[in-house]
Amino acid sequence: MYYATLEGLRRFKIPHKFRFVSIITLYAQWIREGRLKVDPSWNKEGLRFTVQDPCKLVRQGIGDEVAEDLRFVIKAVAGEENFVDVWPNRSNNYCCGGGGGALQSGFVDNRRKYGELKFKQLMAVEPDVVITPCHNCHTQIKDLCDHYGGRWQTTHLWNWIVKALVNS
């Protein structure tokens, strides 16, 4: 989790020489610089994409800037017209309910009750694909989809970047 390291370095004043960055920031930067070449033309069926803003990356991590980068990358990879945003979104998005150790804590009914709001929010945009750039979000949103009867694919972002890669 981005925040675990970011805030850990900060709160405990841990000395370090490296610069701490998110892969999402880099994807966006590399696409803008033309180093990562992607083409959305594979998405002929018009698969409809939406996204989960991981709390530890967006609200508690980098903020709206990385939420914008995330959307920029998805649009570049899947086609601008094939992205539909949830409401609320970015720093104001709801947690999926899998974070904070909820997937490990064993209170399964509570975790799914928490996630009901996320499920309804996602259902409202009728997605084919929900991008979850965090493993906790991925596991939870996939479980919510199965449990409450959604029909979307829950996936990481990297699979679609590779699908859209232009070989030079």
């Binding site: 490296f18 990562l36 904070g100």
Partner: protein, 237 residues
């Protein structure tokens, strides 16, 4: 069902503990406006919500707070703090409460994830297995996908520009999910490396409530990454 409070049974011990651990708690700033509750998916679970949590704390209902499992329904997502006009951070208080619970009474799998993390990674696979799985999967891709025959997944490459961490789930249960990111890094042409120790991208010690465990794991990561001499530490999630 709510019942009248008995004023002689007010306990202010917990409030003191939280204020000591988190001096900027600003517990008294709460306007009871309910902005926190309105956007909190944990509202109503275990009969609590962020505003009630804070009220119980202010009104000295320590026993009720200490015995409630709402502290594990709250995901520490910080949306209540984001919405709060007074900037109150209830998640930080929930974190303190989690830490007050004796280890043997905590959710065992959550505590276990952190305990394993303190040895290397949250699923507890040996570091040698991580290295083996990476190399095995890499070899398979290079053999089966001719266009990726030059794909690389370096480990402990000193002086690389980027260090990449890896969520433990992939090498443990779905190793093929590591490949797309390798391909992306290869396509961009960056010089990167994994580490054979302290390589896990998650950190469950953030959630158990013991700052010393969280600090220990981040310190280990930082030392490891600095020893590689990289410029950037890429977090994958």
């Amino acid at each position: 069902m709510a019942s009248p409070l008995e004023i002689n049974r007010l306990d202010q011990r917990l409030k003191g503990i939280i204020t000591d651990a988190f001096p900027q708690a600003q517990i008294e700033y709460c306007l009871t406006c309910g902005m926190c509750v309105s956007g909190c998916p944990a509202s109503g679970i275990e009969g609590l919500d962020p505003r009630k949590f804070l009220r119980l704390l202010l009104l000295g209902q320590d026993e009720e707070l200490l015995s409630s499992n709402w502290i594990y329904a709250c995901t520490l997502c910080a949306r209540c703090r984001h919405a709060c006009p007074m900037g109150i951070d209830i998640g930080r208080m929930v974190y303190v409460l989690r830490g007050l619970r004796p280890r043997e009474e905590r959710p065992p799998n959550l505590q276990r994830s952190c305990d394993l993390q303190k040895q290397s990674n949250s699923t507890g696979i040996p570091n040698e297995d991580f290295v083996w799985v990476v190399n095995d999967v890499l070899e398979e891709v290079r053999e089966n996908e001719p266009e990726w025959r030059d794909l690389r997944a370096p480990i402990d490459k000193a002086g690389a520009e980027y260090y990449l961490n890896q969520n433990a789930k992939e090498p443990t249960v779905e190793p093929e999910e590591m490949v797309p990111l390798w391909k992306i890094l290869h396509a961009v042409g960056i010089d990167w490396t994994y580490s054979s120790k302290w390589w896990d991208g998650a950190n469950y010690c953030l959630f158990t409530g013991d700052p010393e465990d969280w600090e220990f794991t981040v310190r280990k990561q930082a030392e490891t990454v600095d020893a590689l001499g990289v410029r950037y530490y890429i977090n994958t999630e």
